[in-house]
């Protein structure tokens, strides 16, 4: 028996599969207990994640997280496809589908926890002590700033993916990132010169 892919089952479970493939998958699920259990497991995982979402900090950016997760899951599937199939026994072996569901649930839990950890505010190292008054440039998890005399101006990298920091030894600090909304390369620069 030809079984649908994990990706199709996941998309079907969340009603994200196209109607034509959904019809075919409907027919298959009527005949295959193993795949039906996997779909149920995907649905239960989603519900569990939604329930546990209430425990996350309110400032967590869900839209960003969801888009990151979608991109990472697709990337994982593609990387997996390049690495080649993992030989498994027939899907009729029900104990195997249980393991797969558990593995899927564990992966999603790890992904959500990682995202939560990444969104946590990081502790800030102490500033450099200066001999005299002057401007201090500082990188924080949310932006780069120049500070002096109790005042500061910070350029925030809102919606940033991976930020590349570069210091200019003549007295500047640069943050380069991809704007998540536009996909554009954005470079912030603060200068103490």
């Amino acid at each position: 028996m030809n079984h649908p892919t994990q990706a199709d089952l996941a998309l079907y479970a969340h009603a994200d599969l196209g109607w034509a493939r959904s019809l075919l998958l409907d027919r298959h699920l009527r005949r295959c207990d193993g795949c039906r259990r996997e779909v149920d497991a995907f649905r239960q995982t989603r519900e569990a994640v939604q329930e546990s979402g209430a425990e996350f900090p309110p400032e967590l950016h869900w839209a960003k997280l969801a888009s990151e997760m979608r991109a990472n899951i697709r990337l994982g599937l593609e990387a997996g496809a390049i690495a080649g199939p993992i030989p498994v026994a027939g899907r009729e072996a029900n104990w195997m589908s249980g393991y797969r569901s558990a593995a899927a649930m564990a992966s999603i839990t790890v992904l959500v926890c990682s995202a939560w950890l990444l969104n946590r505010p990081a502790p800030q190292p102490p500033p450099i002590a200066l001999d005299g008054p002057g401007i201090v440039l500082r990188a924080t998890p949310t932006g780069i700033s120049m500070e002096g005399n109790g005042r500061s101006l910070a350029l925030m990298h809102r919606g940033a993916e991976k930020v590349t920091l570069t210091v200019g030894m003549q007295g500047s600090l640069r943050a380069r990132y991809l704007d998540e909304e536009t996909g554009e390369v954005t470079i912030h620069h603060v200068y103490a010169e």
Binding site: P125, R138, T166, Q170, R176
Partner: protein, 379 residues
């Protein structure tokens, strides 16, 4: 709304209202300056979720604005840099926002977003009437033929030209992979780049001018160098004062081995910590008037403290430098080739170019066909 020959003052009402506690309510909060013959025009400004609040004895203003601009020139725009000034908040300090790897056709509208946080002490009489909190001025626009418009006060011409050359180099490389080995090879290239990006170690940094008061004893550390065969300038010798996680006053000697006069250059700087891990620390940019065959010294006058993202200080053990950019007096710019950057140490410590990051970002979000489409757009 035409912005030519004008100085546009925009009022952010919510910020003005909040800052009214310490200053006049009707003052302008953001001023956008465009030169008379600017190749971009301002269409509108959206203030989004801007807000102001008190934090202890300070006032915090969060400015989230998106400017809608139009390319009013006859050439495609590849990059744009805005200088951001706030004299009342940080006298003497400047900031800039650059958008690179653009492809804005003549007549096309495009957004530039600015997310700023200003912090100043609460107290009467500290704001001057009529002075905007923030001023944005066009510093430069780079076009597809590498021609440039703007006052270039922040050296944005060199920076944007180098970014565009990197973009052209990396698009060429990706296209060559596609044409020589097919779509699957390009997919593998994208995945390898994403894996490298995820593995690139990152440092947090603080920087101050002058002498930092380090607790640990200071020592002099010599630079080791990576030399690229096609580089017009070679590093000869260099050192910096190091104390624990702090480095200051880097001093480098460079030699122009080309036949062309050099106007400025940048030396990249890698740090190795006491555990043998290597990090990208930054650059030593310098205006260096170097005739062919001439040597000169490049000096940095700042102190840096490096830390891991979790806050733990990085103990600096050794340093490596390499020439990462050279600008000639005719305005042309040299950047290292992909072959030169293929050095194992650089591959590990150096983040990929902005364009490679952008292309692999497209791959991650939209898939391989979107990357191929994007590459063909620039051909």
């Amino acid at each position: 709304m035409s912005m030519r020959n004008s100085l546009l003052a925009l009022t952010l009402s919510c910020a003005a209202a909040c800052f009214a506690q310490t200053g006049p309510a009707s003052r302008s909060s953001l001023k956008v300056n465009l030169p008379a013959d600017s190749p971009v025009t301002l269409l509108s400004a959206d203030w989004g979720e801007s807000s102001a609040s008190e934090r202890g004895s300070a006032m915090v203003l969060n400015l989230h604005t998106s400017l809608s601009l139009r390319n009013s020139s006859s050439r495609r725009i590849r990059g744009i840099t805005w200088m951001v000034l706030s004299q009342e908040v940080t006298p003497g300090g400047r900031a800039s926002v650059t958008k690179a790897s653009l492809d804005i056709a003549p007549g096309e509208a495009f957004p530039v977003r600015l997310d700023l946080r200003l912090l100043r002490p609460l107290g009467p009489g500290q704001l001057q009437t009529g002075t905007p909190l923030v001023e944005m001025s066009l510093d430069g626009v780079l076009f597809e033929d590498l021609s440039f418009f703007g006052p270039n006060r922040l050296e944005s011409r060199r920076a944007m030209t180098a970014l565009e050359l990197e973009a052209q180099r990396d698009r060429r490389y990706f296209l060559q992979v596609l044409s020589a080995n097919g779509a699957e090879a390009l997919r593998k290239e994208c995945l390898a780049s994403l894996a490298r990006q995820a593995d690139t170690p990152r440092l947090d940094v603080q920087m101050a001018r002058g002498r930092a008061t380090a607790v640990e004893p200071e020592r002099q550390v010599q630079f080791a160098f990576l030399r690229f065969p096609d580089s017009p300038v070679d590093p000869v010798a260099g050192m910096a004062q190091v104390a624990g996680a702090e480095a200051r006053a880097p001093r480098l000697e460079v030699h122009n081995k080309s036949t062309r006069a050099v106007k400025s250059l940048e030396v990249g700087w890698l740090l190795r910590d006491s555990r043998g891990r290597e990090f990208w620390a930054g650059t030593v940019p310098a205006k260096a008037s170097l005739s062919p065959g001439q040597k000169t010294e490049v000096l940095g006058q700042t102190a840096f403290r490096f830390a891991e993202p979790a806050g733990a200080p990085v103990t600096i053990d050794s340093m490596t430098g390499f020439v990462s950019q050279v600008e000639f007096t005719d305005g042309t710019v040299w950047i290292p080739s992909r072959t030169a950057l293929g050095d194992a140490r650089l591959q590990h410590a150096l983040a990929p170019s902005a364009e490679e990051q952008r292309l692999t970002g497209i791959y991650r979000r939209k898939g391989l066909s979107a990357v191929v489409e994007e590459l063909k757009k620039f051909q």
